[in-house]
Amino acid sequence: MVLTALLVSCLVLVLLTFAALYRAVVGPTPADRVVAINVIGTKTMVVLILIGFIFHEAPFYIDVAMVYALISFLLTIGVARYLEKGTIV
């Protein structure tokens, strides 16, 4: 029962990721694309942890997910700084 629930959650999240990818491709402004990619990053992190629980190797996958969340956060901050000030540093 638990395995089925994890697999279904994984599948639904992957489909929702493709739905968010539509906004990242079409989105009229760069801010739209960054928001969509931020959503995709959060979903990818959750999918990584779900995969870890499916394969019974959760500790390793949780570490990968933490690093992925950090990099996604840095991406958003960097692009927002660039949009606001015209330069990153």
């Binding site: 639904v12 929702l16 801010a31 931020n38 942890i49 629980f53 997910a65 606001e84």
Partner: protein, 104 residues
């Protein structure tokens, strides 16, 4: 018996998180403006990821794993609103002056 109860509660949390993720993605696709899209995605994303991770806590077999999941939840609840706030401030300062930038 207790094990079955924990599994059912965990699956309920997973379904609630999926619902919030679906609502956020629907808002991301359907809303007309950058700031409204951000309004939909930030709240639903943070709550959806938090609910799914809380649901996974019920399936984890060691306290160590649960603590790691809690650390990720705390990081998400700090980082996601910060990034959204920064992004919204950048968008707001850029589009002051002309009121229909970025609409479909």
């Amino acid at each position: 018996m207790l094990n079955l109860l924990a599994e059912i509660i965990g699956i309920a949390f997973l379904l609630a998180g999926l619902f919030f993720f679906a609502a956020g993605t629907l808002g991301l696709i359907r809303f007309p403006d950058v700031l409204t899209r951000m309004h939909a995605t930030t709240k639903c994303d943070t709550l959806g990821a938090g609910l799914i991770l809380v649901g996974l806590m019920f399936f984890s077999d060691s306290v160590y794993l649960m603590l790691k999941l809690a650390v990720i939840i705390v990081f998400l609840w700090i980082a996601n609103p910060t990034a959204a706030h920064y992004m919204a401030r950048a968008v707001y300062r850029n589009e002051r002056g002309d009121d229909h930038v970025g609409r479909d």
